[in-house]
């Protein structure tokens, strides 16, 4: 599945990634996310996982398989 939006680094715990989608949803991203993409509009390929984590930003959690700048 592909998700699109703005990539935001969240200062919680050791740091977390959130994708702000165009329709206002905050999706927590887990996996390898290059720090250079912070603040960029990105396209994320991944799958939604039933999981818990330390970021606890609420909303869905997507495990990233590929991420690129749009």
């Amino acid at each position: 599945m592909t998700y699109q939006g703005k990539l935001k680094q969240v200062d919680l715990g050791a740091g977390a990634w959130v994708l702000q989608t165009n329709d206002g949803e905050n999706i927590q991203l887990v996996g390898d996310v290059p720090a250079r993409l912070a603040g960029c509009s990105v396209s994320v390929q991944g799958r939604e996982v039933e999981a818990m984590g330390f970021a606890m930003t609420g909303g869905r959690i997507v495990e990233v398989s590929q991420i690129s700048e749009r």
């Binding site: 919680l12 715990g13 050791a14 887990v30 039933e50 999981a51 818990m52 330390f54 930003t57 609420g58």
Partner: protein, 569 residues
Amino acid sequence: MLQKFGLVGALVGVSALVFALGPTDVARHTPVRQALSVEVGGGSLVVDLVDGATPSQRDEVARLIDAELEWVHPLAEDEALAEGWVSDVSAAIAALAGHPLVESAEPEIFLHPTAFPDDPMYDRQWNLRAMGAPEAWATTTRGAGVVVAVVDTGVTQVEDLAGTRILTGASFVPGTRTAADDQGHGTHVAGTIAQTTNNGVGVAGVAPGATVLPVKVLSKYGFGSAAWIAAGIDYAADEGADIINLSLGGGYSKVIETAIKKARARGVLVVAAAGNGGRRGVGYPGALAETIGVSATGPDGRLAPYSSYGKGVDIAAPGGDKTKSGGGILQDTVDGKGGHHYAEFQGTSMATPHVVGAAAVLLGQGVSADAVEQLLLTSARGDGWNEKYGHGQLDLAAATQHVSGTLGGARFALAAVFALLIAQLAGTGKGFQLVSAGVAGWVGGGLFFLGGLPLPDATVVGLLTHPLLEWPAVLAAPDWVHFPLWLSATLPAGLAFLFGAFRSTRPLAFGLACGIGAHLLHGAATHTLVPWWLPATAGSMWLVANATACGVLGLGLAGAQKLEEARSA
């Protein structure tokens, strides 16, 4: 004769009851070095004269207060800073007030280099002071012997965890074989709970005496499946954890709820983060009734902007607010490059271990798990429950003070009953029984009921309100409370030698023996007294043997009293 047997039976029965009512879920422990900070030098005065004051002007001032003033240091001559002994400090200060040559005069204060804790970055830990940790450190064993499971990204024994007891633990994350931390979150959390403290390195932790059980359930990306987390919670309970720290959350999971309910039914406390949504709605498992849900506050004591709130929040604790300078929670953790660093984190993840550390300190005082949960909430600073702070802000100082008062009450009663039973056994007069029961109660429990009054923070008040065996803590040498010879019949025996021979002072000697004996027995049963060097069982046997010796000593003194009463009758 039957009555004598009855009294002996009552003595044994009361002693057995103390042990029967003592906690069984708190392990034994060794105290850590403590210490303290500031004292006022008796009669020594520091006088700051106007800059450029000459030696003759200094001597002119000295004559006013009948003292000899010397420059503090040759290099302080420019600043005209002088010091000297005076017979009455307050009178001297009053005499110098307003004098044109004197800028200020004050008692000399000696700052001890051994101030506790000596961790160089402790000054940046506003969070520990905000929750009342320093006050609790002074009067408790700091969670020693309590096992705390950190169910998280793992724990690595970084530089400032070197002196902390960390068990092997386990990982439930596929592809990892140990509970080592490959992320940084879990080690930071473990540090807040039990960072090695007073080691001259880095920072301090809330309960540095506690033992950490690392349970890795979150991957290096900081997430984990409900199955991994539930398995980790089961494992922690099986391994004997007293408290489980869950600085994690998300949606509801039945398997996690079941694991938590099972752990809770086994007497394990479970503390969980409220979540970082910054809005109403607490995440799971923090929202479960079986967990203590924790919201986060910043250095100003207000709810941190990221903290979730609402039903499910039970208590608020420092979680940091990095929008304010120095407002994060500082601990030592892995840096992701094979090393470690002291990093400020923020989140309800960081608030949770403050509550866990506080619970460890209280468990270490001999309080049961259920009572700890209640005490944390009832002692929190707040006016009833609200959705931001739950029952209020974590206040470990108030909680430990409450426990000390309760323990004091129990010891006072026990000591008084001991004295009455032994005196009756010897057949002494009622007057002797009543006076010595009062002395024994004071020696064994202190005048605990005065603790809640607004009394001045003076040494004499501390001595009155604390049991005699805790006097070293009042007199600035807390370590000595657990010195084996102090926790023995040596002192009562010496005092019996001094005071036992005279009728007028015998109630004092007898009350001391009974009071100390009762405190030793109570300390053995509740694990609140821990003789140095001795392993757990030997330590307990030492206390009970010495309590018995105190009892025998008391019986001898009461016997002497009976003989003297019979002679004079």
